[in-house]
Symmetry: C2
Subunit: 303 residues, 2 copies
């Protein structure tokens, strides 16, 4: 069995504007945040695609410097995926201004032989057809963690349902849970999602925290109230990255491990929000992560 | 010292519409919810005003049946305070359709002699001038818990600041905290509120739970995810009622007691949302409350 976390997802350039300022073509993408965060807990094998001509070596070095294996990072002819968006002043909504898929349009995940038979795979938020191909190609019987978004529920519902049928832990937000199930109340939505055959579902509520539903049990992990939010881009990816990295490090997937994993994910996601793009994420340290986990423990403790 | 919780606030008739249905002229008012909830923990002395001609005896009996002392409930010439409103389907907002103050317009709180020198007073969400008069008249050196709303921050800021200066624990929601301090982030808003001289501030986030700030410490109590929400009217009043009742029962106001009190408030508030008006609140039992508190304990427990 392969003891690294296999991550498939996007590596991208983001152009974004928040109440704190704006940045152009900075490093982003779900797989980037996931890899940076998970690497503090476990080895990471990354599968993604970028443009051969426009992806700077400093980004490669940032990831390899964190011990992330990039043998699965394809350098293809064309431009790297680009996204641009603007956040509302209270960060409650964001508007996509432009999406330029570039080499990502024909992304066909290539799994290096030494990536195969992983114990854990994290399907980052990409088209479900690519998530499905990844599962088809990796072999073994991994614990599958799947992230997705409203867009795929809209435009690729059938593929997504096939991926969910092969998923153990689904990570979605409350709006997506409602969209997927038609249920307004989070507990009812979770019940319907679990009935799709999953072992567990996490329903995220952004700055309000996240619920974990396993069988009849419910666990809640609050988000960390921050003194300043600079840019929430990648917070959800960071969350699932920290979470998955912790599970790999423990080689456990039972409910108590999932609960602890949620605190790890919450800790790294809170740091991501404190800088533009991956700035704060890239500067993460184990000490900082441990401080945030301790804060979360204290946040709900009576004495 | 008087060992009952002194409550001042509104007793009203509500006409309301939610996605679950509509009701006309049902029992409501902040002091009603507070008294019904607090009475499961401690004796309650109520100060309010209703119309002599239109307030039915069954409402009086409901409250006295819960052991609430109504010697401070004035029966005045005129009509009882009436409010009507309609909730958005997702309960995120509500619109006031009509407010008819009636006898509440000239409410001059009368404190029966045996109500004086309380250990704890809860100033329900009413005009700060009435809250101030109450403090002037009760005597002693009670622990003062104050609830308020955006309207009073808008139209009676000076009176409200005077009340806050005499308050130990202020209970507001996140929008009110921002309105009061100009701070967007909850931690910064809490710091500014505490700097007004308070011992503690609770910042509520509705269905997302509530924060307690005491000195440099932060505690968070999630809300209970419900399978069905019928009507959230009175949830905030129920919260502060359960909270205050618990503090009186323990005769403590330290941070560990305040944290436990938040769970009591959250437990009773969740029940209030499960029926129209006071229907579910009136049917509260100690067993039901204890079940909900146990749920809250388990909701954040790792093992």
């Amino acid at each position: 069995m392969n003891k690294a976390l296999l991550v498939v997802g996007s590596v991208a350039f983001d152009t974004l504007k928040t109440r704190a300022g704006e940045r152009t073509d900075i490093l982003g993408g779900a797989a980037t945040y996931i890899a940076l965060c998970a690497s503090h807990f476990a080895p990471v094998n990354l599968v993604a695609v970028v443009g051969k001509g426009d992806f700077p070596d400093e980004h490669v070095q940032l990831l390899t410097g964190r011990g992330v294996n990039l043998d699965g990072l394809e350098m293809a002819q064309g431009r790297t995926f680009r996204w641009s968006g603007v956040y509302a002043d209270d960060f409650s909504t964001r508007q996509t201004l432009k999406t330029e898929l570039g080499v990502f349009a024909d992304f066909d995940p290539k799994i290096p032989p030494h990536y195969r038979s992983p114990s854990f795979v994290l399907l980052g938020n990409i088209h479900p057809a690519v998530q499905e191909k990844t599962l088809d190609r990796i072999g073994g019987a991994p614990f599958v963690i799947t992230d997705t978004m409203n867009l795929w529920i809209d435009v690729a519902a059938d593929e997504l349902k096939r991926v969910i049928a092969r998923t153990h832990l689904l990570v979605i937000n409350d709006e997506e849970a409602q969209q997927l199930t038609g249920e307004k109340q989070i507990r009812n939505a979770a019940k319907k999602v679990l009935a799709m055959g999953l072992r567990a579902v996490i329903i995220k509520r952004g700055e309000h925290g996240a619920f974990l539903f396993t069988g009849d049990d419910v666990f809640f992990c609050p988000a960390i109230p921050l003194e300043e939010v600079i840019d929430p881009t990648g917070a959800g990816d960071s969350f699932v990255g920290g979470l998955a990295g912790y599970l790999v490090s423990q080689d456990r997937t039972d409910a108590p491990a999932l609960r602890r994993a949620m605190r790890c994910g919450t800790a790294v996601a809170s740091v991501t929000c404190e800088g533009f793009g991956t700035t704060a994420t890239a500067a993460l340290t184990k000490t900082r992560i441990d401080e945030r986990i301790a804060f979360l423990e204290k946040l709900v403790r009576l004495d």
